[in-house]
Assembly symmetry: C2
Homo-oligomer: 314 residues x 2
């Protein structure tokens, strides 16, 4: 039995039932123990499973996470049972890369100012507009999403420097460095954008020293996970004008507390963790799930797309 | 003598004097008759010359316009004397295409709403975000600027339909139609963006019938000249929700009057004719002017870049 811990859109559900007429599907909005005990496959957004659930799910053979982050999963318990986990990494790449490009262009061409003038009926043309053309971006995490950001940036004639654990070549990156070499490339960066997951290695990876090394005009963007940088370190970088501006879609505490100083900093843009949102999200998740389910039922367990390494966390 | 009717940035002036040590340059902020009478070449932004000036400029052989539009020039008087005119078309393409992409992405990913939530310290994730990916854009005027917009849109997997007088193939356009075929492609368009110049043919080219033919979700953008569409026709299209939204950088009357209803329409974005602005504007103009001046002095008059056809107006 295939157990969904959420209730998908009717048209997507119908399509699934039609595509797999011999499967038993249970669609639930909560995690029920009776159903759980029978579940061979669990499909979840990755935020609702506990260690106790894993213990109850005696027949569980595969977990499909319809999101990218697995940091809220009982990963130790899952790994101990040797249950494979797949996610939908890659499906965020289109909306996220579009969002990142939007915020970059808005920064370079003074869009907040244009909107403010409009509110006041002011025809003022003294905006500080700069071209994105010819600038340099450091991309922390040049995987599926980071690569898509890089691909779009190359179209705008931006030099791309990727940064990850290994420093090995990655698509759409003109150059690659390892995490421990980050400081050496920051002085050249006009834009530093992170799409890194939350792992032991990425936690507080960005330090005050990194912000010190950046141009005072640089744009810092966090679109991965809030754990990348301590909130106070970010606030200090912005208030001391170590950098020009920041746009964050993720924060150490979410929702961002209503009294956080970040809301009102003039050089800070707060986005409420929406950059991966898209009307095509579930549609794309199902487009990954369906062929995976076929492979699974044919016994080709090794060939599933998007296995997650529970020890690495992505 | 080469007569500038404006005073360029010191570093650009110095570079010019160094590059052409045998030329006499006059840099003025106004048009003075004594200087004018001696001028062989006039360099102007194209908004300060009158018929009387042309009559006074007895030695005038070439006018270089450091802008794209020539609608404020005494074109009949210039044509009667057979004086060639060149402009700097193409140098707007980078900032304008970046601006257009910015506004498109802001529309698709609800950026105005994100900024409003931030002002109120509201962590709301119920934004209506759509992907640009897979949409269709009609580009009115697929020349240097329109082609650059098309090139960037192709990177976002957008289908591009160009529209101009001839309907002949143009770069980065998946399909081309003539002006008189515009209505036939509008029902397919998610975005309609114009970068057309102001000519007899483009004046009020967009009619109420065109807006009727568009999707009620379509985004209309005018980044060419305000004469393309009557203000009332645009207001009607927006208030009657014939289209989803509009972003205009140009208007029939500029500055846009403080009491224009356009300022406050919720589905309208007013940009104060700034999309071509760039800190690299004059730098790029000079990069066109210098080789042109060399060709001119070598007698290769026919080989100048960017001749303007005064009868066509661009």
């Amino acid at each position: 039995m295939i157990y969904f811990t959420f209730d998908p859109r009717p048209d997507l559900k119908e399509d699934l039932l039609k595509s797999f007429p011999n499967e038993e599907f249970v669609f639930s909005r909560t995690v029920e123990n009776t159903d759980l005990a029978r579940a061979e496959i669990i499909v979840t957004y990755g935020e609702d499973l506990t260690e106790a659930h894993i213990a109850t799910a005696k027949n569980l053979q595969w977990i499909m996470v319809a999101s990218a982050g697995i940091e809220k999963m009982p990963n130790a318990a899952i790994a101990a049972r040797g249950i494979p986990v797949t996610n939908v990494r890659g499906i965020h790449k289109v909306p996220m890369a579009e969002s990142v490009l939007m915020h970059i262009l808005a920064h370079y061409h003074s869009l907040p100012q244009i909107y403010q003038y409009e509110t006041k009926h002011e025809w003022k043309r003294n905006l500080k507009q700069r071209e994105l053309f010819g600038s340099t971006a450091v991309i922390l995490g040049p995987g599926a999403i980071g690569g898509e950001i890089g691909r779009l940036l190359k179209g705008f004639n931006v030099t791309t420097i990727g940064c990850n654990r290994s420093g090995r070549d990655a698509a759409y990156m003109d150059k690659m460095v390892r995490f421990d070499e980050l400081t050496s490339v920051l002085p050249a960066a006009d834009i530093v954008v992170s799409v890194l997951p939350d792992t032991e290695e990425t936690k507080h990876l960005m330090t005050a020293q990194h912000f010190d090394a950046m141009k005072d005009t640089a744009l810092f963007m966090n679109f991965g996970r809030g754990s990348l940088v301590e909130t106070n370190v970010l606030i200090e970088a912005l208030t001391e004008n170590k950098i020009g501006a920041a746009v964050c879609d993720v924060f150490e505490t979410e929702p961002l507390p209503v009294d956080s100083p970040l809301w009102d900093l003039p050089n800070m843009t707060v986005s409420p963790h929406v950059s991966s949102h898209s009307s095509r999200y579930l549609e794309r998740s199902f487009a990954i799930f369906k062929p995976n389910l076929e492979k699974w039922r044919s016994g080709n367990h090794e060939e599933l797309e998007n296995f997650v390494d529970l020890t690495l966390g992505y």
